[in-house]
Symmetry: C2
Subunit: 212 residues, 2 copies
């Protein structure tokens, strides 16, 4: 279903899937830099090296279509990050959450899937346009909720902390990494990952339990 | 200096300071709902009950002026939240941070100062336009950094956690409360405050130290 939805936007013949993904990535960059409202299909077409913007408009009815295709691509990738290897799947809640943080940062934050930017623009779409991504988003929330609830059941995490609030704040922190982390900056990749794992796992930890 | 900067935008004679603040609050609402790029001075003027938009344009050169005045108003208020009563000022780091979280939520988040929205639009301004607010913003960062460093010196907080990263993530969490908290919603005000205090204080806690 995910592929079919994306394929509905993907042009036939002229542009292949690789090219289509390149165009989406460029669209994401322009939305990220200018903001969705200020971004223009003209600029996206220009950066994509399409000689006239008509060749883009032929395939895409509107800027909204690019946004929607990007959101679908991002959430399809998001669901893929929920897959755990056998060892992690058999681990306790904190270990599974620590491993999820690494997978999410690698595939969703340091990739071409700027979820923070895309989610901000959900208001630009009709609720019905998000029908295809809602189950994918729900799956991501359900995964993190289950891991938190496992940690609570095991006594590692604090049962008085609301799991819904926790999961939204965790996604929110991770998805906005680009606001403070620079790959070539002062803090290394390992230090960034360590920051999140430490802050989030301790933040959820059960009272009176040694935090480390 | 702060008042003088705001006064430079405040119209003389026709609009008094109260009216000017009303207009700014309406501008904040429109920026919040539509996004800064999509918002128009026309709509702000209409909602403010200004019969023709010229009466607004007479005082404000551009939408940018409204954004800048809002940012200045918000950061002036932000600096006011740094004031502690004597008992809190004499307390340990975790107590001071817990008290700061309440003050910031009350005065900056549940007020007409949507910092999260305003900060997102910094890119719409020239760096030089932010010269007046930069010292105010620095003062907020320095306050939280000092409280974190006090907690580290006292052994309550983990000295291996980078205070800069911590303070940015704390402000980021607090400033985006509107994304999940509804005053009339499932979670009470007290539960929301408790969530932040617990998650953030435990998140910063020293390893091996009981988390509560």
């Amino acid at each position: 279903m995910k592929r079919a939805t994306t394929a509905a936007f993907a042009p036939r013949g002229t542009l292949n899937e690789t090219r289509w993904n390149e165009i989406l990535t460029i669209a994401a960059e322009v939305f990220f830099q200018k903001g969705y409202e200020a971004a223009t299909v003209r600029e996206i077409a220009k950066r994509a090296g399409l000689l006239n913007q008509g060749s883009l408009y032929y395939y895409i009815k509107s800027k909204e279509d690019l946004l929607l295709a990007l959101i679908e691509r991002a959430y399809t990738q998001a669901v893929a990050t929920l897959e755990e290897d056998d060892a992690v799947a058999a681990s306790d809640g904190p270990t599974r959450l620590a491993a999820f943080i690494v997978r999410w940062i690698d595939k969703m934050v340091l990739s071409n899937n700027p979820l923070a930017v895309l989610e901000r623009e959900f208001r630009s779409l009709e609720p019905s346009q998000l029908d295809a991504v809602r189950p994918l988003r729900d799956a991501c929330n359900a995964f993190v909720r289950a891991v938190i609830e496992q940690g609570i059941a095991e006594g590692s995490f604090d049962g008085s902390l609301d799991p819904s609030v926790a999961l939204h704040n965790i996604f929110f922190l991770l998805n906005n990494t680009h606001r403070w982390y620079r790959p070539a900056g002062r803090l290394s990749y390992d230090a960034m990952i360590d920051w999140y794992q430490t802050f989030i796992l301790r933040g959820l930890s059960a009272p009176g339990r040694p935090a480390d």
